[in-house]
Each structure stands twice: as structure tokens, then as C-alpha cells.
Symmetry: D2
Subunit: 404 residues, 4 copies
Amino acid sequence: MNKIKKVVLAFSGGLDTSVILKWLQEVYQCEVVTFTADIGQGEEIEPARAKAKRLGVNEIFIEDLREEFVRDFVFPMFRANAIYEGEYLLGTSIARPLIAKRQIEIARETGADAVSHGATGKGNDQVRFELGYYALQPDIHVIAPWREWDLTSREKLLQYAEKHDIPVEMKQQSGSPYSMDANLLHISYEGRLLEDPAVEPEESMWRWTTSPEKALDEPEYLDLEFEHGDIVALNQERLSPAEVLTKLNRLGGEHGIGRLDLVENRYVGMKSRGCYETPGGTIMLRAHRAIESITLDREVAHLKDDLMPRYAALIYNGYWWSPERKMLQTLIDESQLSVNGWVRVKLYKGHVMVVGRDSKTDSLFDPNIATFEDDRGAYDHVDAAGFIRLNALRMRIAAKTRKR
Amino acid sequence: MNKIKKVVLAFSGGLDTSVILKWLQEVYQCEVVTFTADIGQGEEIEPARAKAKRLGVNEIFIEDLREEFVRDFVFPMFRANAIYEGEYLLGTSIARPLIAKRQIEIARETGADAVSHGATGKGNDQVRFELGYYALQPDIHVIAPWREWDLTSREKLLQYAEKHDIPVEMKQQSGSPYSMDANLLHISYEGRLLEDPAVEPEESMWRWTTSPEKALDEPEYLDLEFEHGDIVALNQERLSPAEVLTKLNRLGGEHGIGRLDLVENRYVGMKSRGCYETPGGTIMLRAHRAIESITLDREVAHLKDDLMPRYAALIYNGYWWSPERKMLQTLIDESQLSVNGWVRVKLYKGHVMVVGRDSKTDSLFDPNIATFEDDRGAYDHVDAAGFIRLNALRMRIAAKTRKR
Amino acid sequence: MNKIKKVVLAFSGGLDTSVILKWLQEVYQCEVVTFTADIGQGEEIEPARAKAKRLGVNEIFIEDLREEFVRDFVFPMFRANAIYEGEYLLGTSIARPLIAKRQIEIARETGADAVSHGATGKGNDQVRFELGYYALQPDIHVIAPWREWDLTSREKLLQYAEKHDIPVEMKQQSGSPYSMDANLLHISYEGRLLEDPAVEPEESMWRWTTSPEKALDEPEYLDLEFEHGDIVALNQERLSPAEVLTKLNRLGGEHGIGRLDLVENRYVGMKSRGCYETPGGTIMLRAHRAIESITLDREVAHLKDDLMPRYAALIYNGYWWSPERKMLQTLIDESQLSVNGWVRVKLYKGHVMVVGRDSKTDSLFDPNIATFEDDRGAYDHVDAAGFIRLNALRMRIAAKTRKR
Amino acid sequence: MNKIKKVVLAFSGGLDTSVILKWLQEVYQCEVVTFTADIGQGEEIEPARAKAKRLGVNEIFIEDLREEFVRDFVFPMFRANAIYEGEYLLGTSIARPLIAKRQIEIARETGADAVSHGATGKGNDQVRFELGYYALQPDIHVIAPWREWDLTSREKLLQYAEKHDIPVEMKQQSGSPYSMDANLLHISYEGRLLEDPAVEPEESMWRWTTSPEKALDEPEYLDLEFEHGDIVALNQERLSPAEVLTKLNRLGGEHGIGRLDLVENRYVGMKSRGCYETPGGTIMLRAHRAIESITLDREVAHLKDDLMPRYAALIYNGYWWSPERKMLQTLIDESQLSVNGWVRVKLYKGHVMVVGRDSKTDSLFDPNIATFEDDRGAYDHVDAAGFIRLNALRMRIAAKTRKR
């Protein structure tokens, strides 16, 4: 075991990371710096200060990163229309790179030589944290307690907590039996009853959205305004990135929007079942595609679609800080310069319907050409014959020579 | 103008193709064979016989192709999870190759040297028909009246009909002001009010689905059983392909599922606004992804996702009969051999929610490994450290050498 | 036929474009502006002035575009390692966008409303010219005489020339029986004996390179220095882009490098046989891959490789000025920021061998890690076990459950 | 350490695997089964029998796998035109899956519960072996001595050999200072002087090919006949797969063909410099592309090109036995059904030049359409105008609306 001097721990203030804090002090005999961030998980972060102090921490970082999270991570990802495996909006994946980056920055600031996190040894999050650490600080020491210690069950964890006088109230998140993760983009559920993918989750599991059945009985229209692919205003009210997502989450939640129940393929090799609530993100994705539909060139849009699954997998697998993700982002961001305009959606009982879109400055929709009415010569029908015949030529030659 | 002997016309029995029939006889001085197919458009096809007879046609083909359509076209396409531009389920596109194939077969059977269709010179359908014709019969003559004649407005068309004694009742489809296309997979609307993409379509436009607001108040559960990627039973009742889709359309329609309002990029180069109802297809797509999620290997699933936009564009653009579409289909079909099992969905007010999935024979979901509980050694957490470190190695080397 | 006021003709001064010039004056009754560019085709361009004058042209543009051609077209393309269909270095394709751009600029400058070129109706070049024209000036009139006139054989062309007093010496390029195209990147041959792809071309056809058999008997070493992916110096001598390519052509030619004999798929739908000499480009491509091999991250290199065939097809098909080519270029150029260093190649009798490469500033080759000798802990062999086991996990689970 | 009963060792008979054999017996206290295969490495395999016996092995497998190697591994790979990172013909990569497969089969046959190999912990080969083992037998124990033992230098290895009475003559392969690997497809060199990628390898390193300078002074023509993408005859002499490759290696070697010097990106994360001789493979690749150029549809060829880097990376990384490689192979093999015909190449001093190709049964080259001469109406030039105008339409609309 390497001799560690000081470690920066991603500290939520909950039971798990409190035990880790103690365990690091005990096993590594090193100083621990805690880092607690508000990325919209919906819990107070200030209490983490008292908890860290009580556990003997001197350097305590508590930060509100919500704007940075949405502006520099969520929005860039949505410019790509990123979806993993046709369904998942990457809510957990996109928060890890930000946490990793801040831990490394704090390590530099405080002279720490190690970082640590509370992710388990079976999941994707360990990969996402650690690929970020290594990419940003190649010689950093990484301590992943869940891969090292013998506290392999909840009972052992509780015993350890009791033995080391870690407060009892620091229990399981919100009393839920599920393993949960939340940030401004989403909340996720894994484990327990969900481990049988044949079984429907209980209604009581969901935290952020009302069920479609109990959602508002009136549909609601919403106007979203885009600049360079990002939402800058809702119903004509200009908002900051985090404000946009907060408001979309509230509206989506009231209308039962954004629940998802799926089986996904983890990067570490197994399938796992997860349930997700992404109310605001679900609205954003539909609206973003709609504004792109009138402002992006066809082949640019298709190029983006062809590259999207690769981009999404990079984020899912933890490669946010990789050069290939940045390279793809360059292309994606370039494509968004013309993605300006507004989209109208209708929200109703779990459903988002796009009902209108326009761009004063960048619309490529040309009603004179698209029209079924007389277009007064804007388009020459005869051109289509040549277009078709040359596109068919290779198949005709093949058919003539009896080729397959 | 080439001398044409006999032409096989795709004949709906409506005003447009009746005028075309007459025009072909008059202008090309050739015999016309009519071909009318039931592909689930929801209109009687038998009346087309009388109309064709009245217009002097001797060889009249009237056929129910619903099973072939779903079995050999719709189902193979859904194996690919095909979506064009992130939204469109390709309902119109997938019917054209079948019509084209039958027209060519009938041309061979009847000794015809030409084929004709009623698609306009601005749309995708002319391309889809004609690429099919040419690929299957390279020396066929293709007559596309809308690109040739001067009946460029509805008024001229009606005048022509009147002048040639084409029955008055053969008017616009169902009295709708929209340009519509329907088959067992979907119904579409284009033109008129839709030509302004900023404006929401009127509720009265939609024909197949009740609005989510007026849909059934009770959610409905539905079990779908898959064999080799195709649905073979609903709620444990074994059904033929066309029966499956018919039933899904009814259920989806009752629950307000499958409406879509979008702007798409046509192959001929312009953007156009279309509205679609695909109730059964919308359910099928979600369910198919769900059964794949537990039966497909991760990398096979990702390969399919990477190729999907290309496959979808091929179908959209009319390349069903191309060698590259067949090549991709070979890969896709091979992947579906293990896609066996069932999926449960919940239908409610426009929304399809997957709530369960399982496969007795082919599940790759291993609860012993995925579990958050003790897995008794099925998975060694320590492996993750090496996995991460080697995946990070290139980025660490780059960071050390201060590379970008 | 539209009434044309003034047309900018891409004018080589040879027989074909001289006839076109006359034909435009006669048929369109319009003023003709000639544009003749030196892009390294190896012929004097100044004589074109007298020829144009003699044919009554008042506005004559004669320009040396060699530096612009290499700097803004050839070099950016080589950053992508672009090869069409595994073999072709795109020598003809890459010159057309520059000609098209200048024609449009001259049209604006001279108030012309049309442009014209001498490419035939069967080839790719008409597409490349015209897609460029339309992308840069959407309302321009395009006149493609080879698609319009009835001078469909060489005899008719010669008769027309004689009748209109077009000088006799303006004959076939260099007395070669082949259809040829040349610029600083390459020279190409098509037609005649080459129309049978089974037959080897005569040695006398090749113009730029000595045959490998007659090439220099001594191998020659050459050092190429790269900055941001472009060659900036040869054997430590700093050169301009056009100078680099000129020198590489001379060296490559002396060593019999860069001949190619292939059958390619034209965008207009047929296969055609072409022979090419690209001496400098062949050296550049090998050297560029070599400098990338030590300066590019693995996944960035693979991303580039995955996108390369698409990028190459875009250029081949004439989409240089399309938004999707520009989008890809953004990504490619971004990747080249670290592509700095030198490469040593050995030239000998048709063969280019890379024998050394290094980068003082950007090498990602880490001898401490790559070594077969003791690396003193830079790499932990044990990591590989975990790396392999997790990468194998999905296949192990599948094999256990008897999955395919 | 797991209790191992019996292990199947990939045994070359050289020093390294002899030490491993002993070490397995000593450390694991288990029975060792040896497996020695002739895959064309150019060394006698029969002597391995005596060596194994002398070290106390009872179950000795010595097999000639050359035909299987070429038929089932090399040829299928060449159908894809597989090249890794633009240069490498995958010579080492393609042999490992066969060895792994036979080891697993022998393990089943002999009741062994483990397999072992002599690949180091830094290279790709460990991954290729072990991914194969796990995919084919998920519960197999894998012993990788180079990752486990402390014999980390050649000195320690020699000491161990001496101490355990392992014969002295079993020294470094052929007295070369390089780490080498050979099979019927290629021979490779790594390590020592090559660890500085700036330095040219000594001429004495190369074993299989004469240098281009000393190669035959007369060029040689060679006819290759293909059936379904595989070579079945050379100069009209029908040969088995291994005979084909053996003869191509001899011819290529005499003409100095197939040397390669490159820096590649290993799957385990670092760059490494390798030199390769692949004389026969270099000829095969060029010839295969040539036969495809006249027998494959354009879009099928492009689809193959787009997928090729991915396929090549799968093989390089060790995923031969993965479901995604098999899925891609299905597509590739399907494409080869029409790849029938012959190709003529000219070999001369390191250079392979394709000079002719034809297919009696499957040529898609249509001289009537491709011709520069009058084609008597096979192709209508006017079609090109429409083709271009519709392909340009989206760019014209964008330019008109001043869009980017």
C-alpha cells in the first residue's frame, strides 16, 4: 500500500461516505479533505460541514455547482441528442466528470496526493470517477474503498459506524430501499426489487414525478427558446441554465413526464436494471430535436445521428475527459451555431408532444419549395427523373448482368 | 416519348389515379393494367374493380397483401429499431417496396413494358417506387404522370375528370384537406395548414387515434411475446403478423398512442412538415428494444445502434431493394436469433411504459452478478481496478507528456 | 432556355473549352468571361490569354492558384488521410472546388449571371463543379455544354472548330489518346485502351513518373517535418505548401512512386477504370500516418479512421463546400494541433518505406512503458488480468447461459 | 491461488514456454498438457515432443493447423480488407484465436481445468488468448505466468532454467535480439533497438524478405483467381489455402514485398513500435481490393469500408470469438458471394502493382456505359442535370437563407 499524505474525498454526508472518511483516516493514516457539492440532488449540503468537522476534517469544501453542471456538462451533452442504448438519458454519467474535475482541482489546491469516492466495485461510477481523475492528474493516487475493504454488507457497515461513533441518523438515503442517485438532471433507482427485470416497480419508488394517472388533468403548453442549441428562455422568460432545468423538472414532474424502466449494459460487463426519472431532460431532448429539424442541414443532422451512439457510449463509459469526446464535441458544437429559434411542446400525463417550431434567423424550411400547391417554378419536377435514374443506375447495371 | 405497349398502374380507385388511368390511355395510347392492394389502408379495395372496368381496363389485379406487408417488410424493419431522424417510424417508406415489387411481377405476368404510379414530383415516394422498379427490372419504362403532365392544380385535375366522364364521387380522400397516406403501420398527413411548421395541427385532422385527453381513463397492461425479434403473441394469444399489428393499432389508438408532428428532410432535398399516427408501431418499437435489452450482447446491440440511422435512411430514401440494405438485413436478422421472450407494457393516454421483460431461453441478465447484495464471488471487485487503470493508461501518458 | 447575360467559363485554352467558348457566344448570345488557373497542371497558362482575346473575350482572368490549392485544399484533405475506395488519393476531386469557388467570385466581380465548364455528362467532375457553384451562389445559372449540345463526337467537335475558325493547334492535350487531368497533386488517365480493365496500360501512357524498373538505382532518404499535420519542411529546408508538393513530386517521380491502376465507382452510378500518378501525395500520406502514429491518441486516431471513408466520399462526390464536410473538417483540424514532428522515409523503385519518426513536443510514445525490459513499475502487469476479465465478462455470461 | 488439476499449455518448445512448463508443475503442483501447433512459423514442431517428454509431460498434442489457420482465420479476415490503423495486416492477432480454440478443445478432451500461455503482461497477446478462452469456456482457469511470477528479466529466466535443468540450447529464437512472432501470414519484430521509433531497423533484422535493393531485377507477373473472395488458384494452378499463402510468401519475399515499420496503439494502452514482414498478405490485400472493385456494388463496398476499421480493431483487440465479430463476418461473407474472377499483379522490388482484373460471371463493369465514346443511348446525359440539382437543393436553400 502506497503511503498517502492527504486525500480528497467526494463526501455526501451520508452513512457510506462518512464510514469511508473514518476508514481512510484509520487505514491510510492520512489527512482527509472533504468535498461536497450541490449538483441539484435535492438535499441540503450545508449539514455535511458539521458532519465532516465532527469527524475531524480541517479542510472542508462545500460548493454549489448547479450552474456549472448544467451549463458545461448537461447542455453540451444535449446538443448531441445523446441517448444510451436507445433509452437512457445519461443522468448519472454526466455528473461524475464534474465531481472528478473539482476533486482534482481541490487536490492541487490543498496539496493532496490522493482522491477517493464512494462508488462500488461493480458499477459504472467508479470508472467514470477514476478515468476523470487519471486524465486530469495522471499521477494521482486513487482510493476506492469499496474495492479494498471487507465491509461488504450493510450490516458490517453499520457495525463499523457504531464502533466508530458515526451518527445513527446518517442512514440510507431518504429511507428508500433502493440505491439512488440524484442530480439536477435526474434521479435513479437500482437494486432490491428491481433486480428481477420481469417485475414492475412499485409506485412508491418514484420520487420526482407524479404518476401519469395522477398527473394534472389539463395539458400545458410550453415555449422553449434556443440559442446555439441551448435553452435560454421558457415561455419568453430568460433563465440561467440551472433555472431552465429546475423549471422543466417541476413542469415535467407535475405532468408525469420522464419515467423510464430499463435494462442497460454496464461498461464493466454485466446487464443491470435501472429506473430513472428525467422530467426536464425528456422535454429538452424532444424540443432540441424539433429545433434542429428546421435549422440543421440534412446531412449534418444525419452525421450527428450516426455519431450519437458513440458519443453517448463515451459519456456512459466515463470518457468525458478523453480527447475523442472533446473532438466529437468540437464537431457537435460547431453544428449548433445555427440552432436558434423556438419550439412549442404540450405536456400531458407522461407525454411530451411537439406542436410547433420556428426560427426567425436560421430556418431552412422553405414553404415555397415544400408546398403541395403551385410553387411557381421554385422546384423543377423534371429534375427528379434524372435524380432517380442516376441513383438507380448501379442497381440497373447489376440487375442486367444478373448480379446479386 | 417511347412507344409503350402496356403499363401496370398502382391504382387506388380514387380521383388522382383514375385521372392517371385515363391520361395514360389517352396520351400513351397503351393498354393499362390496374393493381390495387389492401395493405391495411382502411378502405375497401373491391370497389376499385368496378371503377377500373368502367374506365375500360381488362386486366385488373386486386389483392390483400396485409400479411406479406407486415411479415416481410414491417417486421424486418422493426428488428433494426429503425427510426429516421430520431422520430419517424417510416410508415410510408416501408409500403412502397412491396407495391413496386408486385407491379413488376404483374408486368412480367401480363407482358407489360411499363409501370406507373401517382406520386408527385416533389416527394420521396416517386423515388421509392422507381428505385424499386429499376432494381427489380432494369429495362422497365417508368411513367410518372405528375412529372409529365400539365394538370398541376386540383382545378385542372377536376376539369380533366369532368371532361373525361370520371365519376364525381371519386374525390379527395375522405374529405380531408390533407394529403394522406395510410397502411397497416400508419397514417400520415401533409400539406395545407401543416405547411406552417409553427402551427399546431387541428385536433380534427387525426383519424386513427383518440387524443390523449379523450383516451381511456384506465391504463392497460399488455404482454408481447417475441420470437427471433418478431411479435408472435399478444396477451398469450398467438397471432399472425397482420393480426398483431391490427390489434396493436386498435389498443394504441384507444390509448392515444403514436401521434407525431415533425419536420423531416426529404431525399429530394427540401424539408417538409408531416404528421403521423403509428399506434401499433410505437408500442412495437419500445417493446422490441426492451426484449433486446435482456437478450442481446452489449456490443451487438451497440453495433446495431451505430448502423441503425444508416439502415433507416436507406429505407426512407427508397433503397429497400438495394444490395446494401440486404447486406445490413443479413447482419440484423442474424442478431435476432436469440431475441426471444416477453415484454410487458402499460398503455395510458399517449404513453407507452415498459414495466417488465424476461426470456426463459435467452436472457443474458445474470442476477447473481448484477446484484447489489453479496454475489458470493461471481464477480471480483479487484478486477475493476486493473480494468480502469489500463483504460486510463493512454490518457495518463498524454497528461504526463502535457499532451492535448 | 433562360436568357443569359454573361457567363464565366473555366477555360483551359485547349480545343474543348475553345469550342465551348464559341458555342456559348453563338448559342446563348452572351458575353463570355474566361478564367484560366495554374493549379500545377504543368502547362503554360499565359497562352490562354491570346486565345481568349482572339475569340473576342474582353474579361480574361489568368491566375496562379498553386499555393492556395495546396494550402487550403490538398493539405486539409491529407490531414484526414483521405483515400477513396482503399486506393484513390482524390487528385482530380480536390481541384474542382477551388475552380468552382473562383468562378463564382469572378461572376460576382464581373456581374455575370452564369458559369460554365467543360466536364462531360457522364463523369464526376460536372457534379463537383456544379455542387460547388450552387452551394456558393444558389441562383447562378449553370451551363454544361456537354449535356446540351449535339457535338457528341470528336469529329463533330473538330468540324465545329474548323467552321468557326478555332485554331488547329489547339488539339488534344499533348497528343495523348487518353482523357487526362492534371494538377499539382496528380495526373490521371481515362478512356481508350483503359476501357478494358483486364488489360495493362502501356508504359508510354505514364507521364509524370519513371517506371520503377527505370527509376534511380540508389534509394534516397527524405526527412519531412510536420506542423499541425501539414508538411512545412523537407530535409530541414522550410518550404511553402506548393513548394513542398512540387519537390515531393519530383523526388517521387524519379523513384517511380505513386502509380495507380484501378476501377472506381463514380457518383453518377457506373464503374470506370482510371490510372493515376500521385508521386508526392503517395509520400505525404505514408508520412502523415507515421507522424500521427506517435502524436495522436489511439481513440482519436480510430475515430478519424472510422470517419475517413465518409470524408473521402464527400470529396469524391463533390461535397467540399457542404456543411457536413466542413463539420468533419472542424473535427479533423482540431485533432491535428498536436501533430508536430518529423518522419524519415526511404524512396526506392516505386516503394515508400517509413523508417523513423519522432516529435520533440508531442510524442505519446513512452519508452519507459513500452519497453520489453524492466520498466521499474511504470506499468503494473497485474492490471491486465482485471482488464481482460471485465472485458470478457459479457462473453462469459453469454457462454454460461448457452447464448450465441 | 485456486487449486488447479490439469493445465493445457501453449508450448513452443523454446526457452520461455519450457520454463513456464516447469514453473506450472512446481508452483501449481498440477499436471501439464502441452499443445504445439504448426501454423507456419517456419520451425519444426516435432522436437517439442521430446522436450515435453523430458520435462515429464504425458499428454502431448502436436498438430499441423496450417490449412485451418488460413482457411478459417486468414481468409475470412482478408475478405474484410482488414488493416489496423491504416497499416498493420494483423498477422499476430489472427493466429491467437485458433490457438485459444484448440487449447480449450484439448482441455475438454483431457479433462483439464486450466489453460496457460507465454504472453507477457504488457502486450496484446495475453488479451487475445484469454478473451478466446473465456468466450469459449467461461469457467476455465487462466494462468498467465508472466503476470504472476518474479522471473522478470532474462537473467532470472536463465537462472531458473539452469537450476531446473532445462536444456541450454533452448535459447532465444534463432539468435535474434528481437522479440519475434511468426506464422504463415507474417513475422514480427519488437523490442531492443526498435524501442526508439526514430531509428531505422538494421537490415539484418528482416528474416523473410530480401531487401528491395537486393530483390530480383526482373518484375514478375502473377494471376490470382478468386472464388467468393478467397484465392483458389495462382497462375491457373489450383491450390489449397495454405498452399496459396505459402507460395505468395515465397514470391513476395523474393521481390522484397511486405516489409512494414510502424508505431501502433496497443489495446492495453501504450504505443509500441513493431516491424513486420507480410509478403503474401500484402499481395492478397491489393488483389482482393482489385477483384472487389469490379464485382462489388458501390454502396456495399462503401459499407464494408466504413465497417472495416471496427472489424480490424476487434481482431487486433482479441475479439475474434465475440458475437459482434461474428455478426460483422456474416455481413462480410454475404458480400463475397459475387467476388469471383481474376486479378493480375506485377511484383517488383518491394512494390505490388495491380495491372488487370476481370470476372466472367460477376463483373459490374459495363463498358457500354463507362465509355468515353458514343454509348448509343445507354446513359442519358440529361439525367445528370437533375441528379445534381436535387443533390444541391438543400445547399441552395441554405445559401439563399444565408445559413451556414
